[in-house]
Symmetry: C2
Subunit: 414 residues, 2 copies
Amino acid sequence: MEELILKGKAAKLAASILATAGTDAKNTALYKIAEAFSANSEYIIAENQKDIAAARQNGISEGLIDRLTLNDVRISAMSEGIRQIAELPDPIGEVVGEFKRPNGLHIGETRVPLGVVGIIYEARPNVTADAAALCIKSGNACILRCGKEAHKSAMAIARIIRESLAAAGLPSDCVNLVENTSRDSALALMKLNDYLDVIIPRGGAGLIRSVVENATVPAIETGTGNCHVFIDESADLEMAKNIVINAKTSRPSVCNAEEKLLVHQNVAETFLPEILGALTEKSVEIIGDEAVCKIFPHATAATEEDWGTEYLDLKIGVKVVDDLEAAIVHINQYGSRHSEAIITESYKNSQRFLEAVDAAAVYVNASTRFTDGFEFGFGAEIGISTQKIHARGPMGLKALTTTKYIIRGNGQIR
Amino acid sequence: MEELILKGKAAKLAASILATAGTDAKNTALYKIAEAFSANSEYIIAENQKDIAAARQNGISEGLIDRLTLNDVRISAMSEGIRQIAELPDPIGEVVGEFKRPNGLHIGETRVPLGVVGIIYEARPNVTADAAALCIKSGNACILRCGKEAHKSAMAIARIIRESLAAAGLPSDCVNLVENTSRDSALALMKLNDYLDVIIPRGGAGLIRSVVENATVPAIETGTGNCHVFIDESADLEMAKNIVINAKTSRPSVCNAEEKLLVHQNVAETFLPEILGALTEKSVEIIGDEAVCKIFPHATAATEEDWGTEYLDLKIGVKVVDDLEAAIVHINQYGSRHSEAIITESYKNSQRFLEAVDAAAVYVNASTRFTDGFEFGFGAEIGISTQKIHARGPMGLKALTTTKYIIRGNGQIR
């Protein structure tokens, strides 16, 4: 695709300049962008209104329109987010390791940008600002590909970013937004190996699956969270109740929300009626196995498919398990390796759960909702990796870097 | 493919046991394997002879047959390599980071195995032992897929490894060799997302390209090295000559060998006749740009394609460049991001080259041949990554691990 090759070439050239531009130049650009958003909020909102009008005409749901909408408050939040990224420490240039070999070679390993990052996202125009700022701070050029529903808004945001980069003396091609919004442009971006060093999808399960299946550029899989909370027989049941209610209901549409509740058989009869009653009061639909349905007749019978499903809704799958080991086996079979929790007062069981459960984040006595770059103190987040290579769990600025070996010699040969 | 699904399930189960098996159990298994190779060398050699006979019948080149051949000396070397891996520090369990959040959550980041590693290789049966041992030490189960030319030898080696694992009390399914040697089995392994956490090709450019194009499992691209040595105008020309001869001729078939020589125009007339004469004496074919052909008429004129080609042979592409910046631009355009060197006495130029060249390993005044896990002091090597995500440059045991966040709370909710 002609457009992508041109943008790829431009981004690669810009990346080589940005990589060695230094912290001050990058921060200056970020502050200018933040300022320009506020100064141009009317323009951004006008373009956003065109997207919203088209969305209404296409019968898009109100939930999606809410995500699509930009207003003064949200634009201020975008600016504030960018200022926060400017204030984070620059990851580039960190010396990760340094050693001298017996032959006198001095080997250093230094943190450097990835190069050119591709990011594919959907109908959230603010991701344009957020992703671009994270890339600039970490010294990467980026090619952004936004869903067509948010395209006019994203174009307006990208235009302001590019003008601000130029005003700060950096190449405007550090940030590029794909203009073609056909499905073909997303597929072509996933295969743009000559120009992209990595591709990151930010969106729903369908987008992530498409990237995993189609990308030839190295990809980082993000986001799916079929998260479990296991209530051990030794659990503090009051704590268990608070955590389950929080993990399930505080924000059911996000990937770190609880999707499944596993209860040790020895506390099922005490705990289930209370917690399921409390969840029902909060409008949570209960899907249970046979034992659960017996104890709590309002529950719907679970199918095999339920155990592997991320509902992202006020809905929870509940199962009674024989013991800790059964819980671990179930989680490792059906979980999506995102966030898993045990509620227990047993030291031994907490250790066993932490060791045996295979997930990016494993919790003892806390809500799964904490799996988040900000909650972890990273100050920013480009996504949550559910794969094992490169980065696992919440990805901050460091996940947008690689390293380079720097070897100084004085004539060594082998 | 039925066989792969069965092996995938078996490997995944074995991986969950191996992940928490502990250093002693893993080392015991490795020492048993090393011992069993020596004890069963006759069996291995007999199976290897069948592969060699078939190879001869199929008119396979002597070079390939040499790589395929196992004898007592090579089997001893395999055993010794495995003992060395046993003696390396266990990467698993290392606490990479640990911090406490204001809400009291204690977050630790711990090094854990990747899980199940797929490795696709060609006609080198010893890779079976080497790759399996690296996976065992790093707590990973593996599924190995060897080229059909070495399949009987690999089967014999894998059988001994599996028996030794069982004798050491570990699941024999920690190491699995694919029996189907059709092209389909390689493709199916690249798409075995339900069971594999990563796939690593070890072989030639064709294999690597096939993995990049076809794999849906996260892959680590290894190996291609179109490496440059740039002779700056300030270079110590005696040092430059030694390094170029070493980098080009000490082992031309490997990925860290020099493929291209760039010479600053101000030293071209002095340096080129001498170095090109010396290379010619060592039977190196010279492919030169116009300026080179003028100075050294024995050179063949280079085509555009030459600059991007990894010869892996006694052949070198030579070009005169205007200055340091022209050398950097050329390297970043045509290099494969493996290993690049500058020979210079200028501090400023060394710094600029180290910073601006985009490669896994960048050298000042040393041969590119040092890009190697053993030369870097890692004690082992699973390959050399030329991609930027997960691992870059020589990959030791750490490249076969990921991390897991372990979060301890006392009832925190969000």
